[in-house]
Structures are given as structure tokens and as C-alpha cells.
Symmetry: D2
């Protein structure tokens, strides 16, 4: 009797459509206040954050009299680049926010592209966030019963209705009032007629940094988005902190009950760009250090250390240096590939098409090879890569992974397969080694990982990071998950196209 058409899209149960067998950050955010060309700068910031979300992007600007928006499926360069100069030119104003989104594709989801915008009694406001609200469906059901009309399946819309119905007077108080009802891991930015507001969840799971260029202030997910426009890094926004940036400057509040910091450790392993600095640490250095720890923890005799490009490169450099084994690009990646090129037919597939990676045979033939990759999710890519390396004539293949086994799904804004599809949830390391076809397989240990990022070890009583994907230790309660069977399904239109 349901009329379901669209799963609420923040659950991890849908299959990733991506062939590269990685977990994926779902979003990147950027906001700027006080700059003469806020929207072009936001476009550049989003471009620097493209790795955090490639399915869609959007910008909303405010020019003092009118909000302007452009939101579209596709990359930032496609939608806000040279060919879109006219569109960028229409996004006038000194303040803007923008968002990259990583989510299931399809025309019906254009309505989910952020930033969302609404016309409130107090005027218009746009908002977007990186992360996931874990009680959004629960709240939505209650709001629908009160006569609220929802336009999307995005959890962000729940925030908008809470703001609209808040009895508070000021915009800031209404937003805080709404967020006090919300449970989840998020970094949120809002643009009103007077202010840019940023909020990081009480555990600080997702990143958010403050920057400055000229007189303008910036809130964004990573420091590399500051670098691209020549802005200075000021500081990380603290867990549970609310900042309001107006023409009077930056105001900081701590309206939420304090919680222990649990920054996402996977940002260091894979999500963040290597040239970003997060919570005071260089991501590149963290990865090299992980490689070095890995070399010590799981030594093997070898002739060459080969990264699985590109994400395995820093760890492989660290591994090679620590192990004293030459580093070489034994696998060449075709950077033109894109997600849009599929293997056309069974016949063609049979030939063993190598769309994205090719063996650099001269570096592999007759050698004992250490392959370094950042993580194993389903194991499909690893299997193909190992087969390719063996076909190129490698004598031995040893795989070293720069993270512990990924055994649990993430519910905090990362695109992960269902738990039963995670290889490490189903198999021992030995079983995985056999499946993948390597002579040996090793993952970094939990403590090794914490050491690499500067801790003595993992504090199992009060873990310093969110590492739920490796441990199942979820710091924020999963209300919608626990409640899943009772969830009211949405009746959304299927737009023909």
C-alpha cells in the first residue's frame, strides 16, 4: 500500500555506483562573506573540493536585494567554468555559499542538489551541509503529520522546516533552535540576508575551517579550498561551535552541550586532499607516516614498491623510504577516464578492458612487488589490479593497506556499501589474501594508525577519533536506523525525461 519511489538518500543501504571501490565523502561546503565576487570565488573553492562530491554542485549568492542560484548535476568546472561565464555572472553579490554533492545520480534527484533555499517569514535563507542527520526521517514524519509539505528527500529540508516553525525571533536563534532538535554528524553553512552562519556538530566528526582573504571571511571543508583563492587559513571551527559572520566580523557561540571530539580518522586515510591541513596535521605527512608504520608492522622482502594510483601514492612513498625499497609507478592511471565510460558489451568486457589502470610492464616483470593501497572495501578493484600486475610478469605480489580492515558502514555522511558487502566484514585477512590473489596481505593496526596521526595509541575508553568503520564504535546515536521499519515512505513525483 506504499507509494514509495525514492529511498531517503542518506542511508548507506544503496549500492555505490562507483567502480573504484572506495568509501566516498558525500559533500564539500564553501561559504564566503564580504568579497566583491563571492560566487566566482565560491566556484573556485568548490573546484578545489571536487574530490568530496562529484555528482552535483550548487551556489547561492545574495546581492543585497535578491538571492541568486544555480544548481546542477555534474562537476564544478562544467557548471561554473569558462563555458558558464554567463551563469556565474548572474550570481551577483558579496556573499555566497556552495556545495558539492556525492550521491546517486538521476534526474529525479536534481531537487536534492544543495544549497537548499527557502522563503521564511524573516526573508530568504540558503543552507547546505556536509554530513548526515541521524534523526531526519523521524523528525520528518512528525512534521508531515503537522501539515508540512516536503519537496525533496534531502535531510537538509528537515532543518528548513524546523527553522520555519521555530518560535524564536532572530534568524540565528531559529537556526540554533532547529539544530538543537537535530542529531547527526554535520558541518552546516547558511546564508541569510545579513550573515554567513557555520555550525559544526558537537562531536566535530566532519571538518570545517575558517579562512580569510582581504576583508572577506570563509567557511569551508578543507584548507585546500582556501589555497586555491590565495586565502589564509585562520583556524578549525571547534566541535559544537556556531559562528556568525556579518559585516561586524566573526561571532562565536557554543550553544550545544559539550561532547568529546571525534574527528573522522578516514579523512586522513583517503577523503581529504593530501595538500590539506586538518586539525593541525598535514594530510600528506599523515599518509606517508601510515606507510612508514605499515612498512615496520608488516615487512616483506621486495624489489619495488608500487602504489595503486593515485590514492596509494603518499603511503607508498612513506613505505618505500622506510623499507629502503625503490618506489616506482608500476601502474599507470588514465586520468581522462571519468565515470562515464563503461565497458560496452560482454564481448568487449571479455577482452579484459583496462579503462582506468594499465600495467607498466617494464617495472613489474620478474619483480617482487609491494602494492600499496589506502583501503579495501569490496575487494573488486584489488582483485583486478593484482591480476593485471601478475599478467605483467610480477614474481611476487604483496599487498599493504594503509588502513585497518573496513568492517562497518558509516552513517555520518560517507557513501558506504551495506555491511554485508564489505569484504572485511565477511572474511579473515587470510581469506581476503586468497580471494585477491596476493602472496601476502597486511593492514595497518588500529594502534599503528593512531600512532601515524600522532597519538600514542587508540584510547579504547575514549577514542580520540571516530573510527566506527573499523570498530563499529558509533559515537552518535543512529535513530533513523534503529527505527527503520516504521518509516513512512515519501510519495515523490517521478519526473519523466
Amino acid at each position: 500500500m506504499t507509494e514509495k519511489d525514492e529511498p531517503l538518500d542518506h542511508s548507506p543501504q544503496h549500492d555505490s555506483q562507483h567502480d573504484d571501490d572506495h568509501l566516498h565523502e558525500e559533500c564539500g561546503v564553501f561559504g564566503i562573506f564580504g568579497a566583491p565576487e563571492a560566487a566566482p570565488l565560491t566556484a573556485l573553492g568548490l573546484h578545489a573540493l571536487q574530490h568530496r562530491g562529484q555528482e552535483s554542485c550548487g551556489i547561492v549568492s545574495w546581492d543585497g536585494a535578491q538571492f541568486h542560484a544555480h544548481r546542477a548535476l555534474g562537476h564544478v568546472g562544467e557548471n561554473f567554468g569558462d563555458d558558464s561565464a554567463k551563469i556565474v555572472g548572474q550570481l551577483k553579490g558579496h556573499a555566497a555559499i556552495g556545495h558539492n554533492r556525492y550521491a546517486t545520480t538521476g534526474a529525479t534527484n536534481l531537487r536534492n542538489v544543495q544549497p537548499l533555499f527557502a522563503d521564511f517569514e524573516f526573508g530568504g535563507m540558503a543552507l547546505c551541509h556536509n554530513g548526515n542527520l541521524t534523526n531526519a526521517i523521524d523528525l520528518r514524519d512528525s512534521l508531515v503529520r503537522q501539515g508540512c509539505l516536503f519537496q525533496s528527500t534531502s535531510d537538509t529540508e528537515t532543518i528548513i522546516h524546523l527553522v520555519a516553525r521555530s518560535p524564536q525571533q532572530t534568524v540565528l536563534d531559529r537556526v540554533i533552535d532547529a539544530m538543537q532538535k537535530i542529531v547527526g554528524a554535520y558541518s552546516l553553512v547558511c546564508l541569510t540576508r545579513d550573515a554567513l552562519i557555520g555550525i559544526r556538530d558537537p562531536h566535530g566528526v566532519r571538518p570545517l575551517v575558517l579562512g580569510k582573504v582581504g576583508d572577506a571571511h570563509i567557511l569551508t571543508s578543507e584548507s585546500c579550498a582556501l589555497d586555491i583563492i590565495g586565502a589564509d587559513f585562520v583556524r578549525d571551527i571547534e566541535p559544537g561551535e556556531v559562528v556568525m559572520i556579518t559585516s561586524d566580523g566573526v561571532q562565536s557561540l557554543k550553544p550545544f552541550a559539550a561532547k568529546p571530539s571525534r574527528f573522522c580518522i578516514f579523512e586522513y586515510i583517503y577523503f581529504a586532499r593530501p595538500d590539506s591541513v586538518m586539525e593541525g596535521k598535514s594530510v600528506y605527512n599523515a599518509r606517508k607516516e601510515i606507510g612508514a608504520v605499515l612498512a615496520k608492522e608488516s615487512h616483506v622482502e621486495a624489489d619495488v614498491v608500487v602504489p595503486v594510483p593515485d590514492s596509494g601514492v603518499p603511503a607508498a612513498i612513506g613505505y618505500a623510504a622506510a623499507a629502503g625499497v625503490p618506489f616506482d609507478l608500476g601502474i599507470i592511471r588514465n586520468h581522462y577516464v571519468g565515470r562515464t565510460f563503461i565497458e560496452p558489451t560482454d564481448h568487449v568486457r571479455h577482452l579484459g578492458v583496462k579503462l582506468k589502470h594499465n600495467a607498466n610492464t617494464a617495472q613489474l616483470k620478474g619483480k617482487r612487488v609491494v602494492l600499496v593501497d589506502d583501503s579495501i572495501v569490496r575487494g573488486t578493484t584489488s582483485t583486478k589490479i593484482v591480476e593485471m600486475v601478475r599478467q605483467a610478469g610480477a614474481k611476487e605480489v604483496h599487498m599493504r593497506i594503509a588502513s585497518p580492515p573496513t568492517t562497518h558502514s558509516c552513517f555520518y555522511g560517507v557513501d558506504t556499501p551495506q555491511r554485508e558487502k564489505l569484504l572485511a566484514a565477511r572474511m579473515s585477512v587470510e581469506e581476503m589474501a586468497e580471494l585477491i590473489g596476493v602472496d601476502s596481505l597486511a593492514f595497518i593496526s588500529h594502534d599503528g594508525l593512531y600512532k601515524a596521526v600522532g597519538e600514542a595509541a587508540r584510547d579504547n575508553d575514549k577514542p580520540q577519533y571516530c573510527d566506527a568503520c573499523f570498530t563499529g564504535d558509533y559515537p552518535i546515536s543512529l535513530i533513523d536506523q534503529n527505527d527503520g521499519s516504521n518509516v513512512r515512505q515519501l510519495s515523490l513525483l517521478a519526473e519523466a525525461s
Copy 2:
């Protein structure tokens, strides 16, 4: 201090962008329940109603499990014709509603294209209407203060929020509850998971008819939309009547306080298609009869009766027959023209470009010509036509108009210029004749018009029709108009494109 970007689009104050100097019906509706291919049939129905709205069109269907929609700017044939077979194929189901809209163009208004759809607590519902709600802004302001979020400037959205907040239990009761708060002239159709609902306002200003084809029932604006699919005309829906069509058949209710019938008399003059039958009368015959009355009321010696094509043709035939003067096509209309062809530059304009009409010189040269047109709005087209006829060598030009002088704006769903742009609001008939450049000018009298549609005369105490555009006698109160200065402006996004 406002952040206005978009006028609420049901007010008559915006200028018509149309060159043909006519009033325009703003909408046509079509709904069908119980037919195997509801959407293709709806597309055909909308195609027959294309004259009631050319800017945009939309269809929503229900397939028993899912609502499907396609809404777009442009004509029905462009969006649901041969080239869109794939789209029409996606609009599955045995029930559908559709809408043609006549309104200002522009990308920002795509969100106003009907039918609107919402996900209610009771499930999804789509709705659309022909007409105008005269207290929609007033209601909207109150709803926004209660935390409602509006997505469009369409008055239809006000109905949706009223339905969402209704305390009633059944869908039908909620819709009726909502409409009891609404004031206006409208013919509304709604599609739910179980039913097609139709409502005509208590005065019955706008048309709505019931038809049948096989086992399926149809609600639509004009009988010509029944003819196109071979359906039978059953009856006009009565003023204030609510019909609910389900798999159990047609149920009729009269939940509103009874009001005197005031059908729009302009439907006979110009809006409706000549092959439609409205309130029991053939529109073509009504027009011929108007021509005949006009010939009697304002006789003139002449050699030829020439219609301004195409709308003046039936009245001209009636005039010619009654006057005993030959009827001829002295003006040829280029049917390829379309609204999209403008005169490129001042230089070109200077040449006296005749995009839409050309004089048929052989029928005009040296003759005393009676030109018959349906109405004069601004007078711009009339002036050009008369000049063209004179240049072709007409000896005398007498203009006869098949309606009384248009002196007032319509607020009931017709696109009219502001009152001060109506020629007849500013000038006497003599002044108009001089401006237009004719030897004589005559309009049909009020009583003559009522006679032509079968009444003895206009009953000035209880007029049988709505003729506010000729008399200023508005049967439904103009709440938003009277209240205009206090209206809260919307803050809607300007979508860059």
C-alpha cells in the same frame, strides 16, 4: 527593505507580452479517470485546448503505485507530441490530469507550471485549475506566518497548504475544507491515488464539462477536448458543484452556499473554440448571431465584409449574411507566425513588416470595406490592420466589433492589461474611430450581446453572465486587490540560466 523578485502572477497589472491585442484566457484543464492510456489522452485533450494557454503545459499521471509528471514551457505538441514519445511513455497509469497555462514567460516561472504536486500525510495529490483566486495572497501571508514554506508564486500552492493543514480526515473533505477558505473564479481538478476530483466555483465563472469515453470519465474546460478523443459530452458541471470520480463512478456534492450563476460571457465572444458547446450553446452560432445583431444595430453601405482573421470570421459571416454583402478574405493570415518571430531592427521595422497579416489587395482595392473583429483591447493591432487595408486601396473602412467596449480589467483568470491601457477606458467611440483611422466604428450593445446569446436583454439587477470587463460589475470580491498595498513580497530565488 523588500526582497521582491517576482510579482504574484495572477494580478492583471503586468503587461501582456502578446502582440495580437486580445484578452487571453489563462488556462485550460483536462482530467481523465479509468482509461488505459490516460496520459496520451490527456495530451490530446490539452492539444485541443491549446488556445486557452500556450506558454506552458503539464501532465501528472498515477499508475496505482507512483505519480509521474512532465511539465514544461511551450506547446503541447512540442512537449507531448511525436518527438516526446519516450516522455509520454513514462507517464503511465489509468488516471491523469493536465493543464495549459498562459502566463508571462521566463525560466524563473517554470516552478509555476501546473499541475502542482505535493506529498501529503494521506499520500500524493496533483492539482491544477483554470481561473484566479482573489484572496490567495491574503491567505498566503497568514500561512507563511504559521511556518509554511512556499515554493512558487502560483495561487494554486495556497490551496495545497490549506489541504495539508486541514483537520479533516478524507481527501475529499480536506479539499472541500480548503476551497471553503478560497474566494475566486476557478475550475479545479485534482488527482489523488483513488479519485479524480473536479470543482467549479459557486458562480460558475469558468467552464468545466463532464465527458465519457468507454468506461472512463473526463473533466475538462471545453467540449472540443472531448471531441478530439471521440468522447461523449455528458453535461456541464454546475456552479459550486464538486464531483468525485472513482472506480465506483461519479459522485456529486454541493458543499458551498449557493450563488447566482455568472458564466463568463467573453467565452462566447473570443476565448472558446468555435466548435465547442458551452452551457448548451454552440459558440460558433453565438458568434454568427453576434455578427447578425451587429449588422442590424450599425448598418453601413458596403461592398465587402472582411474578417480580421481568424477570430473575426464567424461574426463576419453572420454580419455578411444579415447585411446581404459579400464575405471575402481581404486579409490573409500567416499561420506559421508564432510568437517567436520579432521584427529584427528599427531599420527593418521601418519597412512596415507584415509578419502575421497581409492585405489581399485584389479584394480591397476601390471597395467600401466592413472590417469585423471580436474586440478592441489596446487598439494597436486595429490601427495597423486599418492602415494596411487603406494602403491596399480600400475606398472606405468601417469597423464593427463583436463585443461592447472593453473598459475594465478581469481578475478572474484572464490576462488583461492594466485598466489605463484599455483603449475604451480612456476614449469615446468617436475618439477611438479617429485613432484607429476608420470611417466609422461600432460595437455591439450590451443588450444586443445578451440577445445574441439567447437572453431577452441584460438583467441589470441580476446579470445572467459575468461581464465585468464591459461593465465593471465584479460578482466576486477582489480581496487581494483591495489589500494590495500591505502585501508581503516573496523572496524567491533568481535561478541563473
Copy 3:
């Protein structure tokens, strides 16, 4: 062993894809020299000639340094109207030629859209024509054997190669040299860097007129294309005449052997716009006169004369006046229809969809109806129309046709079905009447037709017009037709799209 993909498109053997069961003119041409905005004026001229070709259109202009072109599938208004202001703006210069084409659709034929352009030793030249060359394939085969590379299936390209290979020195001499090798019915216009050249074939089968606006001269197919830009009609170009328009004025030559004039009589019956004047006669008056002759030749008692809209209207007016029977629009045509709206499925088709015409029941019920149409080609439309009129309650239906029976295909630039699909080639008038379902059927006689256009009768020894479609008397030899079996097929690319 052939590698055929595309029939040479000037043969009549392919089926018309058009539902309206008429013969169709294949082209209209327009050229202007000496006007500041040559391209916009050409666009307007083509718009006035839209009835002569709706599949594609194109304009080439010359700005003194560069030729500019835009050629596309679709109507003039779609490609050169308001929405294409940027494109029209790029077509700079004081001279331009343009073309409307009526031909089979499909992406592979974009290369056939005229005007064609080529870079010759003497510089660039664009050309286009209305009509058909009857020895183009024969010439093409010979050119291919000499190493010529053909890009299209258009017969116009044959002319281009002949010009490129001509040993003559001047452009004009080369063009004349080429046309002396050509056999066919054509009106050709060419644009060079210095001149606009026009040529009408020796029999003058297709029309071409000279006009003037300000200092600019115009060559075009019909006078209505002069009217639209306020230009004056100067004269018809004579059969076999070559005119060269330069900044020095108009030069006239008669380089071909003189032949008797055989203007296409079907231009009066159907092809031309009623407001055009051709060879000194008003097309509208010719049609009315045909109706009048028809009324005398085939009288019948009746209550109403109803035209099949729109082409039957002038003849019906003439018939009604001559017969003393009222004229009424008993069939209403939906002008929004367009070719793009097909009947979606068998189920829907079964309902008897009336996309284009609807019965105006009030004018037909219980009446003896004379239906007037211009011609019968296959008879399919007539059958549907008669059925619709009978369903509306007509007591008797008598059909009167404003042309003699169409018994032969045209090879001179008119889209006609294969002869065996022409109803009148297969059946007697009585058989046709039975098939179509009328109480009586009559065509105008050959002599009656000649009388209506001002002749005493048809001169059977030296017919005054080309009437091959009614008589099989072909004035120009059909070289490719007679030679068909030996024709080399082209190997053209199928462009994927």
C-alpha cells in the same frame, strides 16, 4: 554489390510523410542585394514563403569580406526568429540568399539543406533553387568518373561541380555554361562576391519575381515575400531569363534557346499563397473563380457550402456565391497542430482522434452539405473528413474538387506520391465517390480550369500551362527517370546520432 544508403531525393518515388494528402511545392527562394540588413530581410521573406517548404531553411550572406551561413532543419521562425537573434546577427552583409525546403526529414539530410556553398577558384559562391533537374543523376555519374567528390544527394551539387569545371572566365559565364548542360524545371538564385544572379528555366515552370525596396533588388518565388518587407513588385522574371544584379543595377540576358511558356497551373490551385499575384493574376481570385466554374459545372441542391480548411476556403466562397447557398465553417481546423503530433497508440487511434479537424456539429446536423476541397491525392484525408461530417449528422455530403483528377506524378519540383498511389490514376470518379463515401463527387474540367485562370480553353496542341499532373503531358524530358535502372548509387555516410 551496391552500397546505397540514400535515394537521390528529387525523384517522386518516395512516399510523402505528410498526413494532409496534398501535393507539396518543394522549395521557396529569396535573394536580396544592396540592403543594409540583408539576412533579416531574407529571413522575413522566407517566413512569408514558409508554405513552400517546411522541413529546413537556410541563409547565406556576404559582408564584403566573408560569407556567413546558417542552415537548419525546422521552420524559419525557429531558426531565424527571436530566439535566434544572435545567429541572425552573425549573418552580416548587404547581400543574402535564402531557401525553404520541403523534403524527407532525417539527420542524414542536413547536408542537403540549401543554400549550398562552395569555394571556387574565383572565390566563394552560394546557390539554391526551387524545382528539379531532370538530368542531375546522369551528369553526376559522369562527374564522379572524372574524380569529382560529391558531398550530398542534392541535385544542386551537380551545378556546383559544373561551375567549378567550366572553362569560362567570368562567374556569370561559368554559371550559364553550367546551366546549359542542365535540363529541368527550376528557378535558381546565386550569390557571389559581387552579384545576385537569378535564372528561370526556359519553360518558366517554377515562379520567380523581381522586387525592389529602397535601393535593394529582390528575387523571390512569390510576391507575398515582397509584401512582408514592404517591397514593391517589379515584374515576373521571364522563362529562360538570366538576371544579374550588382551595384550597377539589373542586367538581363537570354542565353538559352527560346521555349514555349509552361507555368505550373497547380500554383493557382494550391501551392501559392492566396495573397500572391502570379503571372499577373491574383491567386485568391483564381481560386474563387474556380469555385464559381465548379458550381456551374456540377450543380447540386444544398443547404450549406463547407470548405475543407484552409486550402478549400477561397473556392468554397466562390462556389457559395455562384450557387447562392450559405457559406459556413462546418469544419474547424486546429492551427496549433503541426506535423509533430502523432496519434500515440493503436488504442488511442481507435477512438477516432481528430488532431487537425473537428466537425462544427451545429452547422452540419440535418443539412445537405457541399464540401469543397482543392484536390484529391490519395483520398485518405477526404475519407476521414467525410466520415466526420456524416457522424456530425449531415443528411447529404457532396464533394466538389477545385482541380481535375490528379493522375500523374510531378517530376518538376513537387513532392508527389508514386503514380500508383494517386487515387485518380486507379479509379473512376464513381469509384472514388464510393470509396470516399459521398453522395456525389465532381472535379472541375480541364477547360473549366483554364477558363478560371483566364483562357478560353486548354489549347491541346500548345498547352498554355504545365498540367502534367492532370494530363501526363510532360514538357521537359525526364532523362534520369528514363535512365533509372543504370544509375550508380552513392555511398554516403550514415551519421550516428
Copy 4:
């Protein structure tokens, strides 16, 4: 008095529009004969060759009865990937050829997108090539004087006309006859109804290899295009060799006068993909070896070796290993960038936008940095990179270049700036070092380069490679260049769009 609109596009005089300050290969070719899905395999091969040409791509297939084509601007993945499945599906047949092109963009150049196709007396043939013909304009002028009509500015079209006019009988003889008139550096592939033909110019400047997968044979520019579809490398086509692949197998001919082999040495430095094997050498190993030679030739004390990504990476790895200095990614490249993202305005540019590269500050701060790049063309990118590295806190910056100074333009199919824009043509190494802002700058020596690719040294009397860009020693005569002033300009249409 000219009517020029388009420079002949194979001259090096036009400015490269590309910001990355590299020379660029102009094309890649791929042909396959005997495979069930020839076009999808060709698309994959072109994808592997994307680095050889990114502006446009095209495929022509032959299905035994019909040639099919799709040619478009943009990348292979955009035009033949997942979103274009329908198009790829239309390219039927067991044989196909394809082409990537690197050339100036713009709609007017779509006609230059290869493969070209023509309908000859013997049937259709498609062809495409990598390289440049140095007497194409000279030949074209002569052909135009003989009445040939050219459609494009591509030098490939000259070949087509020579084939059409050849007096030889067989297709192979005609193609060889045509190529005997051609001077230039080229690797050509042709597809006829029976055969795939490949020709490498007598000096073998551009690469062409033969591969095999199942029963199908392949001709392509690089071995990486074999790897992607799992095909085996068979051998390099020899300089001056003609191969004809039919259902009877591979036939080899040597119809041209023998010339010394002069393979392009820049293929090893930059053009080819590192995983390709050319003339028996691994490209990756050649680059590492260049880095090693460079480390020996121009030693400097340093803390870190940093490649300019991505092209400097293999040489930097070789340099670091030979010098015993750590290798690190001190510069991070944003692979999402694409050419389409420009710096929006002066204001934004002022901020020092880093679209493509960002400093990895943690690896640079306080360090003595050796930057390794493959070449310096204009020096613009080098200057920016050095400035960025210094801003990140590097103590010293030493630049090492993996090629000799680029002092001359290439006329053999490589996109190069005019000679006066080449930095090394205007400045000494010391002047360049100052301009770029480095503490030291060194290029590999000519002999060092030859050593790295396996020679004892450069044989100055009979150089083993074409190294004209470093030496000005052009092995093939530059006929059109020497003749430039007399060249007839084309009069091509400017297509409005």
C-alpha cells in the same frame, strides 16, 4: 581583396590556447579489422590515446553494406562513452578507424574533425592521420585550379582529392599514388570496403604499431591502445612501410624510396604515455634514465626532489634515485581541472588562483628543492610554479629539465608556438633562470638525451632521431613554409551558431 576566414590549420603560427605550456602531439589514430565490435574497441583505443588529442574525436565503421560515422568536438568518453551508447550502437561492423585530434577549437572547425570520408568511383573510403603534410597547400592550390571543390582546411582532404583523381585501378594503388605526391611526417590509416590500410612516412617520424586480438588486426599510434583492449603488440610498422589488412591477412609493401629513420625523440620525453613501448623501448624507463643522466650532468645539493606533476614524475623518480635525495609530491595537481575552467575576473586573478597545482607546504617549507619538469616552452607555467614553491617556504629552488632547450618550431604534426615565443630561442640558460626565478637551472645535453634512449651519443652527421625542435635540423622539406607568401586563401563559410 582576400576573403580569408580560416588559417590553414597545420601551420605552427597560431597560438596554443593551452595553459600548460607544453608542446602537444596533434593526433592519435586507431584502426581495427576483423573484430565483431570494431567501433566500441576503437572507442576504447582512442580513450587510451586521449593524451594525443583532446579537442575532437571521430570513428567511422564499415558493416559490409554501409559506412557509419560519428565525429564530434570533445573527449572520447563524452562522445563514445556510456552516455552515447546509442551512438556507439549505430557504428556497426567488423572494421573501423578512429582519430583523436588536438587543434584549435571552434564550431567552424567541426568540418576538420577526422576521419574524413569520401565517395569515390570505387566506393567509399575513410581516412585519418597523425602528423602533418608539408606540401598540402601547394598541392591544394593546383587542385583547385583544376576544378576541385574543397570542404575543409584539413590537409587530409588533399589526399582525398589525389585519390579521386588517381589514374590507378585498385584502391591500394590509388592511395599509394596519392601518397607519392605527398611530402610530410605522417602515420595514415584508411578504411575501405575490403581493407584497413596503414602507411608510415619514409622517415618514420610519427609512430604506428601493429597489434592483434583474436583474429582481428590493429594499427594504432601507441602500444597502450593495444593494452586497453587486451590486444598483443606485434611490431612497429617500419618507416615507409604500407600495410594492407584484409580478410586474407596482413600484406606489407615498401613502395617509397628508402630514407633514414628519424623517429621523433620528443615522444620519449613527453608525448607518449609512460606505459607505452616505442621502437622497442619503455617510455617510462627512458624518462627515468633521462632523470638519472640529468642528476649526473647537473648535480646540486638538495633536501627533496619534487616533480612538476604529472609529466615530470618519472624523470624525478630517476633523478632522486640517482642523486640519493628523497622524492616527494611537493606539488599536488587537481585532476578535475580540465581546460574549461578559467580565472573569472581580474579581481579574482589577483588573488593568485591556483586552479591546477597547489603547493604541498609541509614538503617544501625550509627545504632545498630540486624541481624536475620535462621541458620549457614559453616559461609561463614554470614561473608560476616556482613562485608558488617559494611562497610555500622553500629555501632554495633548483630546476632540472628532462630535455634540451626547445629552440625551434615543429612542422611535423606537433602544436608549437611561433619560434619567437619559445623562451630558449630568445634567451640563454642564465637569462631563463633569472626570469623563472630559480637558484639554478639545467637542461639535459643533446648527447645526454641520446644516451638516455640507448645511443652512444647523437650522430651529428646522420642523427638517429628527429630532434628539430632542439636543433633546427629538419629532415623533411618544408615546402608550404618556404612558399607561404604565395598561398591562395580559402573562402570558407563562417557558420553562425
